[in-house]
Amino acid sequence: MDASNYLYISALLFTIGAVGVVVRRNAIVVFMCIELMLNAANLSFVTFSRINGNLDGQVMAFFTMVVAACEVVVGLAIIVAIYRSRRSASVDDASLLKR
C-alpha cells in the first residue's frame, strides 16, 4: 500500500482540526480540534519514519504525545476555571484580553 495515502489522511485530519479551531465557539470542541491537529502531525511523523526507514519520526511522535498530555491537563483546567467563573464555555465570551 502506498505510504502517501497516510499523508493525505494526515492533511485531511489537520485541515478538519484547523477549520474546527477557527469556526467553532465551544471551548471543548476547539480543544478537541487542537488534539486532532496534533495527532494529524503525529501520523505524518510516523509515516515519514516508515518512508525513510529510521526511527526519528517515531521518537518525535512520542514527544508530541507527552506535550499533548500536558496540554490537555493545563487546557482543561483553564476551561473548567473559566466555566466556573463565567458559566459559559464559549471562547468568544472570553474576549477581554484586548483591553
Binding site: 477557527v22 474576549s95 484580553l97 484586548k98 483591553r99
Partner: protein, 629 residues
Amino acid sequence: MTISTSLVYLIGLPFAGAAILLLGGRRTDKWGHLLATALSGSSFVVGVYHLIQMVNRPTEMRPISQKLFEWISVGSFNVDAGLLLDQLSICFVLLITGVGTLIHIYSIAYMSEDRDRRRFFAYLNLFIAAMLLLVLGDSYLSLYVGWEGVGLASYLLIGFWNQKPAYATASKKAFVMNRVGDMGLSLAIMIAFATMGTVSFAGVAEQAHHTSEAALTAMGIMLLVAAAGKSAQFPLQAWLGDAMAGPTPVSALIHAATMVTAGVYLITRSNFVFDAAPTAQLLVVIVGAITLIFGALIGTAKDDIKKALAASTMSQIGYMILATGLGPIGYAFAIMHLITHGFFKAGMFLGAGSVMHGMNDEVNMRKYGALRQFMPITFITFGIGYLAILGVPPFAGFYSKDMIIESAFNSGGMQAIFLGSLTLIGAAITAFYMTRVMILTFAGTKRWDEGVEPHESPWLMWFPMAVLAVGSVTSGYLLYHNKALYKWLSPLFEDHGEHEELLKPIVVSALALTMVAIGVSIAVYKYMRENIETVAPVDVSWITKFVRKDLMQDQFNEKFFMRPGQLLTKALVTTEDVVVDGSVRGVARMAIGSGSGLRGLQNGFVRSYAALILVGALTLIAAIWVVVS
C-alpha cells in the same frame, strides 16, 4: 617692541570692580560707588605711568605688549590673547580712564537718589574694562571681544531705567542696530583669516602688501560697516538719538566721549587696510560726509537738550570718520578731534545733566530759559564747551576741527573742494544749533513749569565739569602745538610726506570762522526773542517737519529693513511649519494611522487570532514553496 607685565592691570582693575559690585550684591551698596570710582581712577594712574614710561623711550621702542595666554591654536592658525599699548592706544586709554573717572565722580552725586546706584557703577566699570580691552587688544579677535563688551555695557546702561517700556525699547534698538555693525566686523575678521591667515594687527599690516586689492576692499567695507554701527554713522545712525534714554552720565561717557568713537579707532587702527583699498577709503569719506551733514541737520530741530547733543555727536564723529577716510593726511587729526571732542562733548553732556538735575529732570529746552543767573558754574562750563565745539580760537575745537577742514581741502582732486565745502557748511549748521541750545537754555525769559526751582548742582557734579572745561580750553592747543600729536602718532602711519596746499591754513580758519559767525547770527536772529513757544509750533514748512522726524531715518529703516525682514521671517516660519514640521508630523501621523488601523485586528477573539496564525503559516509555506520550486 617692549614686553610689559603691567598692562593687564589697566583692564583688570575696573573689571574686578564690576565683578565685586555685581557678585557682592546689596552688601556693597554702601561703598560700591566709591570702590568703582577708586578702581577707575587707579586704572587712570596706571595709564599715566605708562605714558610717562613711553615718552621716555626712543620712538621705535615705544609700543609695548603683553601676552596673556594662548587663546586659539588650531593647526597653523594661532591666536594669542595679547595686549598692545602703542602711541594710538595710549591716547584712548587716557581718554577713557580720565573722562571715565570724572564721570564716575559726577555720577556719585547724580545717581545718589537712585536705589540701584551700585548696579549703575558696576556697569560703568564693566564698560571701562571692555572699552580698554577694545583699544588694547593686539588682534582683531581681541578687539572683537571688547567691541561686544562695550555693546553689552551700552545696552545695559541705555536700558538702566528699563521699568519705562520706551527706555527698554531704546536699548533694544541700540543693541539690534549695533549687531548689524558687529556682523560687519566678524565678516572682516573672516576675510582677514581667509585671505591672509592671520587676524593680529601686526600680521595683517604685514600681509596687506601681498593681498589682492579686492580682498582688502571687501575687508575695508566690512570694517566700515562695523564702524558705522558702533559710531552711529550713516546708514546705521538711527539708534544714537534713542540711546539718550540712559542716565546722562552714560550719554556723556559712552555716547559722546568714548564708545561711539570706537569706529574711528577701528578705521585708524586698520590704516594699512584702507591705505591699500582706495574704494573702501572713498566710501569712508562719503559715509563721514553724509553723517556730518545729517547729524547737524537733525540737531537743528531737536527740542530735547540731550537729543540735540546726540545729533551733534553724530555730526562731530562724521568729521572724524571723514578725516580717517582722507588717509595718512587725516588720521592724526581725526584722533585729535576725537580727544578734544571727548572733552567738550562730555563736558556739555554733564552740563545738560546738571541742568536736568536742577529742573526736575525736564529735558525740553523750550521749558528752560534764563538759567544763566541760577546755574552760573554750569553756564560757564557749558559755555566753554560751546565755544570749543564752534571752533572759536583758542578753544580746543578751533585747532582740531580746522585741521580736519584743512585736510579736506588739501586731500587733492575735485573731491577736495566738495568735501571742504561740506565740512564748512557742517560748521555753520553746528554753530546754528549749538547757539540755539545755548540761547534756549541759558538766555531769554523763564519758561519753566510750575514748582521748578533751578539750583546749582553739588560740587561733586560741577568739579568734573570744570575739569572737562579746562580740557576743552587747553587740549586743542597742547595737541596742536609743534604738531605734537601728529609727530607722536606718525610712526604708526605710512605718510607720503608733504601735501600740496589748496588753501593756506589762515584762509581756512577765516572761512570757518565766517561760516560759524553766519550760523551764530541766524540762531541769534531767530531765537533771541521774548516769546519762545513752550510747545513746538505746528504750522511749519515741510522741511522743518521732515527734519523734526529725523529725516525719516526710522521710517526708512522700518519700510526697507524692518517690514521686509518681518515678511522674510514670516515666510521662513511658514516654510518651517509646513515643510519641516509638516514632514515630521506626517511621519508621526502615518505611524499613528497604521497603528490604529492594525489595532482593529487586536479584537480579543481567540478564534480570529488562530485564523491569523493559520493564514500566516499558510502564507509562509506558500512562500517557501514558491522559492524552492
